[in-house]
């Protein structure tokens, strides 16, 4: 979402739907994998591949829908991506049904371990490691490769980039697909620990919105820090004073909006 906003200046609500889509496709992929007799220890491979592959839907949505509204007002873009959210929710319901889907016991396939006196499923550590790896890879992609330089240049000044011969259409399609694939991969990776529900996309958008406001729109570092702030605050609130759980996050959002409207890292570039 951050990458997409940074480059395309589109506030993509559908990122939540991509997350949900990734989750459902992940469940199905793991189901087929298990039915085909694949070893349980490697289930994360089909899971991640399925998550990445379904990111291809990004190209379709970018070329088929978004490309028509780049020149329009933000409101159109917001409405369009919200329409995608609603359509994807129904598409998911038609394909996978209304009942929540889950990957049975795979969550515990890697066992549990003791960490600072608490029992932690190893899978959680795998996901944390994978997230860090993805964050580093994105950082490397954006700062160390030609593609990254073009993306950042486009984000900075799209007219100038276009004037210098950058094919904006291709950059947009690539960036949007990358953003989509990150969303679907995230959905797929998280699914063993939870269950896929058709409305999970909308849930995520609300939380992502808080993360983005705290971190600052369009900033990768901001997203990282914002996510940490929201996650840690929620956990503390639940342990200490559960009634504060949701309130606290929005209080921080309000505080950031009042004191630092661009967010903690807003305007710092990609």
């Amino acid at each position: 979402m951050q990458v997409v906003f940074g480059v395309q200046k589109i506030f993509n609500l559908a990122c939540g739907s991509f997350y949900a889509l990734g989750a459902y496709v992940g469940v199905s992929a793991v189901g087929w994998y298990a039915a085909a007799g694949g070893p349980p220890a490697l289930f994360i491979v089909p899971l991640a591949l399925a998550g990445l592959a379904v990111g291809a839907v990004g190209v379709v949505i970018e070329r088929g829908l978004l490309s028509f509204v780049y020149e329009r007002d933000e409101t159109f873009q917001l409405l369009l991506t919200f329409a995608v959210v609603l359509m994807m929710e129904d598409a998911i319901r038609l394909t996978w049904g209304t009942a929540p889907r889950s990957t049975a016991g795979l969550y515990l396939a890697y066992g549990q371990t003791q960490l600072l006196g608490a029992t932690v499923p190893v899978y959680n550590l795998v996901v944390i490691a994978a997230s860090l790896a993805i964050a580093l890879a994105i950082g490397w992609l954006l700062t160390r490769t030609t593609f990254g330089r073009i993306v950042r240049a486009t984000a900075d000044n799209r007219e100038m980039a276009a004037a210098l011969g950058v094919d904006l259409r291709r950059v947009y399609a690539k960036v949007f697909t990358l953003g989509t694939a990150l969303g679907t991969l995230g959905g797929a990776l998280v699914i063993p620990a939870t269950a896929a529900m058709s409305e999970m996309g909308i849930e995520l958008i609300v939380e992502a919105f808080a993360v983005v406001v705290i971190g600052g729109l369009g900033s990768m570092r901001g997203a990282f820090v914002g996510a940490l702030v929201v996650g840690i605050l929620r956990s503390f609130a639940i342990s200490i004073y559960p009634e504060l759980e949701m309130l606290l996050i929005y209080l921080i959002v309000i505080a950031v909006l009042v004191l630092r409207p661009r967010g903690l890292f807003g305007g710092a570039g990609v």
Partner: protein, 442 residues
């Protein structure tokens, strides 16, 4: 049950005005050709018999989207199964049943659709309604439109207080908090020596009411019990790791959880991942609603699990239940949850009430006569005999028990199965809930 070919011409006069309307004739013919189960012989009978078999339209409200969509789907499937079955055996008083399905969503839109069903589709009765938020609004509308409304799972309670004690047309579900009360009665039987309890439920009326009722009941049996933690995450949350950490920190002897949708599966999974139930007992009052997602890999044995009013695997289940479970599994590849029973009971009791009301008048009865006949009527539902109390509240049995892995499924079932009647666990008509609980002789 009367077969269509035995139909006498009298009942057609009951709706003679419609019969005289040529537009209606065409529609009823279309309806007939659509009603798959109407017997072929009947269609080619003389005109009076055709009019006799004019389909009886029943409105159905089912949730199609959001968290409760699976519940809505289950209710609708059971209603369709019922309609097919009734039509195969000759319909209601010889008239085939035709369902007109509308969506239950928010109160405002649902009220509009309800009005459309009654005023435009001219249904004889409306079945359905799950969310109490919606059915609270439907109750007065049903009274206003003077058409029987039988609610699957929604009440007209505000919290635990009844808002419509003497309705004429509204027929309401079991009080929301009954399953928590049943669990409160069973907890001391299975978990002796419980001193501290933590609770988690969804942050809306149902979650809070269940927790309050459960505490009140448990306190009657275990006066020195302490309630050490209460958590109310909002509906739709998919990550409970922080909540589970807080539950662990509370060091309670037991966790009471009233989740009923996908969140029940998720918390079970995430609790198993940190071994929560190795040290803690667990009561899941309503998780039987998603029973076939509670896989053995992450759902331990020894939890108290509630199935609401129907347990699909009841060893004492009737042939009707066994047939339903078998056909539901074959068609939908799932094992049916309790909502099917509410829906089946609603429809079946409507049919029985029409037949009862017609017996005296020998004609298709007026709506008011059907509503009157519904009061106190008892029929065989999927879960066994169920009835309407005189004040229009469902009476039935609740099924709860201790989870076991000893079955042929990949998810848990319960053994032993405890059956508690609403006669024991639901406040009598007009009673105040907490006064009633505090007045129990224990």
């Amino acid at each position: 049950m009367r077969h269509p070919s035995q139909a006498t011409p009298e009942p057609l006069r009951a709706h003679g005005t419609r019969y005289n309307n040529p537009r209606y004739n065409r529609r009823q013919f279309l309806g007939l050709t659509g009603a798959a189960a109407a017997s072929a012989a009947l269609r080619f009978d003389a005109a009076p018999a055709l009019a006799q078999a004019e389909p009886v339209k029943l409105g159905v409200l089912a949730i199609r989207a959001g968290i409760a969509a699976p519940v809505g789907a289950a209710g609708l499937r059971a209603t369709e199964w019922w309609a097919e079955r009734v039509n195969k055996s000759g319909g209601i008083l010889g008239r085939p049943v035709q369902l007109v399905v509308e969506e239950e969503s928010n109160p405002k839109d649902t009220v509009e659709r309800y009005r459309k069903l009654v005023l435009q589709d001219k249904v004889e009765a409306v079945l359905g309604g799950i969310s109490t938020g919606v059915t609270l609004a439907l109750g007065p509308v049903a009274e206003d439109l003077a058409t029987p409304w039988l609610s699957w799972d929604g009440t007209t309670q505000k919290g635990v207080e009844e808002t419509m004690p003497n309705p004429k047309w509204a027929f309401k579900s079991v009080d929301n908090e009954v399953e928590a009360i049943v669990a409160g009665i069973l907890t001391p039987k299975y978990f002796k020596g419980i001193k501290t309890v933590a609770g988690i439920g969804n942050d809306y009326s149902y979650g809070h009411d269940c927790w309050e009722s459960y505490q009140a009941v448990l306190k009657r049996y275990v006066p020195d019990v302490k309630f050490v933690l209460e958590l109310f995450p909002k509906l739709g949350v998919t990550d409970f790791t922080s909540h589970i950490a807080a539950i662990q920190q509370s060091k309670a002897d037991m966790l009471m959880c009233s989740f009923w949708s996908g969140d029940a599966t998720i918390i079970m999974k995430q609790a198993a991942a940190v071994g929560l139930f190795k040290t803690m007992k667990g009561v899941f009052t309503t998780a039987g609603g998603v029973h076939d997602s509670l896989k053995k890999e992450f759902t331990p044995e020894g939890l108290l699990l509630g199935y609401n009013t129907m347990y699909f695997d009841d060893p004492k289940g009737s042939p009707l239940l066994k047939q339903f479970v078998r056909e539901y599994k074959a068609k939908h590849n799932e094992y049916p949850p309790y909502e099917c029973d509410h829906a089946f009971f609603n429809a079946e009791s409507y049919k029985a009430a029409v037949e009862k009301a017609a017996r005296s008048g020998r004609q298709w009865p007026e709506k008011a006569a059907v509503a009157k006949a519904l009061e106190g009527i008892e029929v065989e539902s999927l879960s066994g005999r169920r009835s309407w109390r005189e004040d229009h509240v469902q009476m039935c049995n609740f099924y709860q028990g201790i989870t076991t892995h000893k079955n042929s499924y990949d998810f848990v079932t319960i053994s032993p199965v405890e059956v508690v009647s609403t006669k024991q666990a639901m406040k009598p008509a007009g009673a105040k809930l907490f006064d009633w609980i505090n007045g129990w002789k224990i």
